[in-house]
């Protein structure tokens, strides 16, 4: 069992719909009317649960459009009455805190760096671990599995000191490399599963037809790895965009903060929190991830499950 084994088939709530309808309940035993009542009941429950999970996201968006005097007024506003963009204006352009645009720039740079580097390195690494037999292969596989379990929280002091010794505090490159080390074990492991899922015989067939080995790999196996590359890319993107703790200790200067660290500067001990601006800032940080997530969600859960169910 692995986090995302070979050729994981995307299994999601939406795509598998219908396959389970009516399972386990021979239709003849229940009267249709009771069935309808029950299914309406389940539907209402689903609606409530869905609303409960989505509520904080709704509340963030709603508050972000609410004028400050209504936010701190005596009335509760469940809907953004008198909607305004002023909170966004405050979050983005008011310079008394650390500025938004440099933080956005830093986050984009770190994310891009981690995304590209992790995919290239993990791809090369997974090739080595799947298409070659060599001494130390199993040891390497075991060590990336174990490394994955070492909590970053334990390593923060020595990672900080390492970056400090290199005089690379507050640099995108240092944070990027730290993140890269954090995501590599998982990305190598995942991609390795996907490469394993493509039978080497396919490549050999292409070679019999006259392809060279690299060309056979490139033409036959690589296109089949697209889902794996997407899965690892998503993981790297989310890590680099969302990570907070390492960014907190490595990117301390206002102009080198990433977005999560920037978000925290809204709360200052001496002043009341401007919740409207803070929610606007949260929307700015969260929306790219949420949109991205909804687009690629099909590949997120299948991995853990495929192959794990045994008869």
């Amino acid at each position: 069992m692995s986090l995302a084994p070979a050729g994981a088939v995307p299994v999601t709530a939406a795509t598998t719909a219908g396959t389970t309808a009516g399972r386990g309940a021979p239709p003849a035993r229940r009267r249709p009317a009771r069935r309808t009542v029950a299914s309406v009941g389940w539907g209402v429950l689903a609606l409530l649960v869905s609303a409960a999970f989505a509520f904080p996201v709704y509340w963030m968006v709603s508050t972000s459009f609410l004028p400050t005097d209504l936010i701190s007024g005596p009335e509760l506003h469940l809907w953004p009455d008198e909607p305004t963009l002023r909170n966004y204006d405050t979050a983005i352009f008011r310079q008394e805190r650390s500025p938004f645009l440099p933080a956005l720039g830093n986050s984009l740079q770190v994310t891009f760096l981690v995304l590209v580097a992790s995919m290239v390195l993990a791809f090369l690494g997974s090739l080595a671990l799947t298409r070659f037999r060599f001494r130390g292969r199993r040891a390497f596989v075991l060590s990336i599995l174990v490394v994955q379990m070492i909590p970053g929280e334990a390593m923060m002091i020595t990672v900080f000191q390492l970056v400090d010794t290199w005089q690379l505090l507050n640099t995108v490159v240092a944070l990027g490399v730290v993140y890269l080390a954090g995501v590599l074990p998982f990305t190598i492991w995942t991609l390795r599963g996907f490469v394993n899922g493509v039978p080497v015989e396919l490549e050999e067939a292409a070679m019999i037809d006259g392809c060279s080995r690299p060309r056979a790999f490139w033409k036959v196996t690589f296109p089949l790895l697209a889902p794996g590359l997407v899965a690892t890319g998503v993981f790297a993107f989310l890590q680099a965009w969302n990570e907070f703790m390492m960014a907190l200790i490595i990117m301390t200067r206002p102009e080198s903060m990433t977005l999560p660290v920037w978000l925290r500067t809204f709360q200052q001990a001496t002043k009341a929190t401007d919740w409207g601006a803070l929610m606007a800032g949260s929307v700015l940080v969260a929306i790219p991830v949420v949109v991205f997530f909804l687009l690629v969600q099909g590949r997120m859960t299948g991995g853990l499950v495929s192959g794990a169910v045994k008869g």
Partner: protein, 316 residues
């Protein structure tokens, strides 16, 4: 170049091929080299350094160049005899257990609900879950901070209008117990979607005939769940529980941010935050490293089963 790797391992190499074979031996290492280098420098070295720090006296002064004296296991004995360490550890474990149990139980219920639904409502529920799952932890934490805000939070508003008491101005974060109630809610809320989707995907792979047979044999819904569905997805449960334990034990962002909004640090720190406090904030690098080593060992112990299962299922 890579084509030479197809040479069967035991085949006697013709002299001409020797160089090619050496290249083929090196090639996998060449491909692994960049990853191995990054991991050695940014994970391996700090790990060794952490062990080194944990047996030396290392404070702010040593950061400025004062030599660090070797103190043997002093940092460890100091840590293990410090009641604060045990309080923090007990707190972290209690928090972890509550979060894991709630996550798995509610996650199972949501997964079963997904099974019950038709296509349309399943999509509705999936979107709600996905929104919660997708929220960046820090942004989610701040939103929850706003929801539970002392002065204008929606929870206090609603409680005031629903009950006869005036809740406005009630602080949820000052008392450690309600601080952790909020933290639990946030962590569980964020963790359930992954668990629910994974379990749902697992449940859909249980063959319908088996469930039907159980039904015909007179098994009720509860028996079908406990005796048929759960055994089928046992491995998934084990992995989900282990992963949840690890994630909830090392929780940092949520606790750290909630403390920033209004918690009492000394009464609410978990292990990750405690290491940050001791090391980064107070500069007791040696002592904090000793805690970090203990913490790492605990994590590795918990994940040992997961690693073993994974390796065993690994094709040779």
């Amino acid at each position: 170049m890579a084509s030479t790797t197809l040479t069967p391992p035991g085949a006697a190499p013709a002299p001409r091929a020797t160089r090619a074979i050496t290249a083929a031996r090196l090639l996998p290492w060449l491909l692994l080299a960049p990853s191995a280098a990054v991991l050695l420098v940014v994970t391996g070295y700090p790990l060794v350094r952490m062990l080194w720090l944990s047996v030396h006296e290392y404070e702010r002064a040593q950061l400025l160049g004062v030599p660090a004296p070797f103190v043997g296991l002093d940092n460890y004995t100091a840590t293990l005899t410090d009641p604060r360490f045990w309080t923090v550890t007990a707190r972290s474990f209690a928090f972890m257990v509550v979060c894991v149990v709630l996550t798995i139980v509610v996650g199972t219920l949501v997964a079963l609900l997904l099974m019950k639904l038709g296509r349309g409502m399943r999509l509705v529920l999936s979107v709600g879950l996905l929104l919660a799952w997708a929220m960046p932890p820090l942004a989610a934490m701040l939103v929850w901070g706003w929801i539970f805000d002392t002065q204008y939070g929606v929870v206090n508003h609603l409680l005031t209008s629903l009950t006869s008491t005036d809740w406005m101005g009630h602080s949820w974060l000052v008392s450690p117990l309600s601080f952790f109630a909020v933290a639990t809610l946030v962590v569980v809320w964020g963790a359930i979607p992954f668990v629910a989707f994974t379990l749902y995907a697992g449940f859909t792979q249980v063959p319908g005939e088996v469930l039907e047979a159980a039904h015909l044999d007179g098994a009720n819904a509860r028996q079908r769940f406990v005796d048929v569905q759960v055994p089928y997805v046992r491995t998934i449960y084990v992995v989900l529980i282990v992963l949840s334990m690890i994630w909830d034990l090392k929780v940092f962002t949520q606790i750290f941010v909630l403390q920033g909004i209004g918690g009492v640090k000394s009464q609410t720190s978990t292990l990750g935050v405690y290491i940050y406090e001791m090391g980064m904030a107070q500069g007791h690098y040696g002592a904090a490293s000793a805690i970090a080593v203990v913490f790492t060992l605990v994590m590795l112990t918990i994940s040992a089963y997961y690693v073993r299962v994974t390796i065993r299922e690994e094709t040779p």
